[in-house]
């Protein structure tokens, strides 16, 4: 798979790809994809279970990140994302304002969330384990995401889905417990422009 990507990225499309990605210094690194993560190509969502209420789903609408995928040396890949907590949307004004309030995410007190990867390890031909530090609710803890690559080797755009889970209590975010579960699942799906 790397080899195919490598070939594709060495082709005439490579320069165009980097332009599309529109990130930082456009240094021609063969076999490396640098891209910007924005709501145009990525969806960041969460789900959380509760007692007496169906699973709650939500997304974050405002975030920006950088993605560097080194296909030949996955361990050299890197991801960072900054999320604006107040951009949370749970599909309704009433429930969204409750989630933003001091009873829940308290976005006034904790306006930013971010993730910085610390290690990337290939787990199969189509997946990697991405570990990094998640800062959220005033605490920072490691989180590991399982990243499944959906796009075929050598095909663009790159498409992937990253899933991970956090224990809210580790971050001191215990609001609503035990009615609202301690585990929150995070899903990041990327596809499309610039990837």
């Amino acid at each position: 798979m790397d080899r195919c990507f490598y070939k594709a990225l060495n082709g005439p499309a490579f320069g165009l790809v980097l332009l599309m990605a529109g990130t930082g210094p456009l240094r021609a690194e063969p076999g490396v994809l640098s891209a910007t993560i924005t709501p145009a190509n990525t969806r960041i969502g969460f789900t959380i279970n509760g007692i007496g209420w169906p699973q709650t789903r939500g997304v974050f609408d405002a975030f920006k990140g950088r993605l560097r995928v080194d296909f030949a040396h996955p361990a050299k890949s890197f991801v960072s994302v900054d999320i604006r907590a107040a951009s949370v949307d749970a599909g309704g004004a009433s429930i969204t304002s409750y989630i933003k309030s001091s009873a829940m995410l308290d976005v006034a007190q904790h306006p930013a969330m971010n993730f910085r990867s610390t290690s990337v390890r290939r787990t199969s031909a189509h997946s990697v384990a991405l570990t990094g530090l998640l800062s959220f609710f005033g605490a920072t803890h490691p989180v590991t995401f399982t990243v499944r690559v959906l796009s075929k080797p050598g095909q663009r755009p790159l498409a992937f889905v990253a899933t991970g889970a956090i224990q809210r209590s580790a971050f001191g975010f215990i609001s609503g417990q035990p009615l609202i579960s301690d585990t929150a699942r995070i899903t990041i799906a990327s596809r499309g422009r610039g990837l």
Partner: protein, 180 residues
Amino acid sequence: MSAGARWSRAQRWSHQLSGAAILAALVGAIVMNRLVSDQGLRFMLYQVHKTLGIVALVLVLWRIGVRMRMPLPTPIRPAWQNSLSVATHRLLYVLIFIIPLTGWAMISASPLKIPTRIFGLVPLPDILPTSLPLYLALLKAHAWLGWALGAVLVLHITGALAHVRDGTFASIWRAPRPPV
């Protein structure tokens, strides 16, 4: 209640208004819990239900006050139906008073700490400290009492419809005709 003796204006209005709030809260409870799957709409309906419940509680208190100050119309016949009617009404008064109270108590005890604003404006204070076991018990009580109210209301409405001809049904809906 014969056609001759009718309910006063205050009794009629308090019946109609509290009845509307109670029915809306009751039907809303079924809709929000059983029919709606969209989480945003569902959450919003819960907030509306809380406002309806508090409005119902205020109207019920007014209604009980009015009821205690004013005389009852003459009994219906036969006697056994009158006894059933009296028992049904007593049960209704108990239920429509304690159901909103258990609802208020349960949202007060809830660990979710969802702020309750009547009509989206007036904050409702908590009447109990946060407690998960208390919340779960009150939630169960609130739901069961709600179903019980539905059953007693069926009896109440059946009784009312069975007494259309003798004027009992009309007596709560229309003003008495002036004496000739």
